[in-house]
Symmetry: C2
Subunit: 336 residues, 2 copies
Amino acid sequence: MVEGSSAAKPSGEEALIARLFTPIATHPGALGLKDDAALLAVPPGHELVLTKDALVAGIHFFADDPPEAVARKAMRVNLSDLAAKGARPLGVMLAFAIPPDMDAAALDAFAAGIGADAALFEAPLLGGDTVRTPGPFTVSITAIGAVPSGTMVRRTGARPGQAIVVSGTIGDAALGLALRLAPGRPGFAALTDEEAGFLRERYLLPRPRLPLSRALREHASAAMDVSDGLVGDLAKMLEASGVGGEIETARAPLSPAGRRAVEAEPALLEVALTGGDDYEILAVVPYEALSRFQTVATTAGIGVAVIGQTREGQGLTVRNGEGQPVCFAQGSFSHF
Amino acid sequence: MVEGSSAAKPSGEEALIARLFTPIATHPGALGLKDDAALLAVPPGHELVLTKDALVAGIHFFADDPPEAVARKAMRVNLSDLAAKGARPLGVMLAFAIPPDMDAAALDAFAAGIGADAALFEAPLLGGDTVRTPGPFTVSITAIGAVPSGTMVRRTGARPGQAIVVSGTIGDAALGLALRLAPGRPGFAALTDEEAGFLRERYLLPRPRLPLSRALREHASAAMDVSDGLVGDLAKMLEASGVGGEIETARAPLSPAGRRAVEAEPALLEVALTGGDDYEILAVVPYEALSRFQTVATTAGIGVAVIGQTREGQGLTVRNGEGQPVCFAQGSFSHF
């Protein structure tokens, strides 16, 4: 500050934000990331749907995962929650803590991942905070979505005698994680390189099922995204709705890679059905709405499988190919 | 899972959330913290104001600060941004990462701090995420506020010839931090125990100036909260507005404790004016609106001091008691 007159000098944080995020924060409400807050209009007649998931290196992802993939995973686990609630994204707020050993190239890659998914899913970066940490790389995203007022899809609306459906394929991410941790297991040894790569990719990059948002609002009585494993998450949703249910393992949609791994090592079926990180949509749909729901999904290129149905009472029964009830040692996966 | 029927078993995270946060998340939109997302109605004719600040132990607070105070600081630095933008809070989303050595009592105290400030500032806890970390305790809050559409107070609206004002007193938090780091400095040796305690408390617990929100919307041409030091933050706001300005150090409002410290050790004036963590409101107000703005502040029990005025041109001039321009080695404080 020469001659007693101060110009505003950007701090290290401001310079970093200007380099990494200002170019991707093009939504007018982001105000160029130069104000204290972001500004966001909410469409008339709509309510907000808010979700926040944090990811920590070494807990929710591998410390050596590509920073771009970590960014996209952080975006997608949040957008997956919006999709399951029938919401469309309005934007995201991002906080992340940079460890001492994270270099400029890694930061650039991280920002590129945020920018790519913000564009792909029309979930603009509105603002956030960048801090240093002596600990692991940590990302926290708040996703802001909207639904027409009164239409958010909850976990609590399932009724007896309705179809239990799940989108996409189940177990790929959990198998991808198991494959990274123990690639020598017989189920994984049976895979082609391409199949193994597919499973690894599914762990790294969830696919938020936003094209199903509207159909869920219109047709589902209850929905959630599968983040902690199909069996455990379904048990939670049935309990929240006050109903029981039954599913058949043979009807769980496995990918070709997942199916091959399970056929080579049947114990992997439990991993597929109780492992986490699927980020598929688990929904309960009245039978009379089922074909319309499936038509929307098919049109969007998303498979929807009926895996069972709800019933009076409580508890979830899982039956194997012979119709026998099966037990799993671990109902669901927890990072905690 | 006995006999093939699964009841939903709460995970460690779910049990912790039920114990710590469900009792304080009483807003209906929090859905008892049992769904994937929170639901929030926005008042008709209003826009959202969104802000997100993250705090890391050892960087933004001391690792041995009371967890309740850390929680309240995390709430307040975010609510301070809403106040500066003229917004009122609608709610907060909370993510925090728990280090291995944080015990149940500390978690209870942290949750109690969140609950106390959520109630005090009518900023209900709507949802969030609780994760484990091998690193330091880390808190990330997204505060959601609302303003009547088109009325958010930005940094960019100041015009030449308007009053530069600041709320409360300046420098207490920076002096409180300096006191913790070097209690033997002459300026601090001159303080009574009560005065020293006041400064320490001001570092620990900002006071978001939400009672000024409406008056800022109605009367201020630009505003921000002082988080990185009065001089540096004012320089940024003037630059954002495309105007210059001049302030007098003698008009900066110091608390009795701050004044005594600065009188005993004049070098502490620079700490007071360029240190961070004030979380007071820095605003530019046209002279014709000044008395109305001050009346609202006084009625709310908040002092407002005129410290200078804007002018054509650019840059900030800071003058001492003799009218001479002064320079500071460090324009503003950065945690980064």
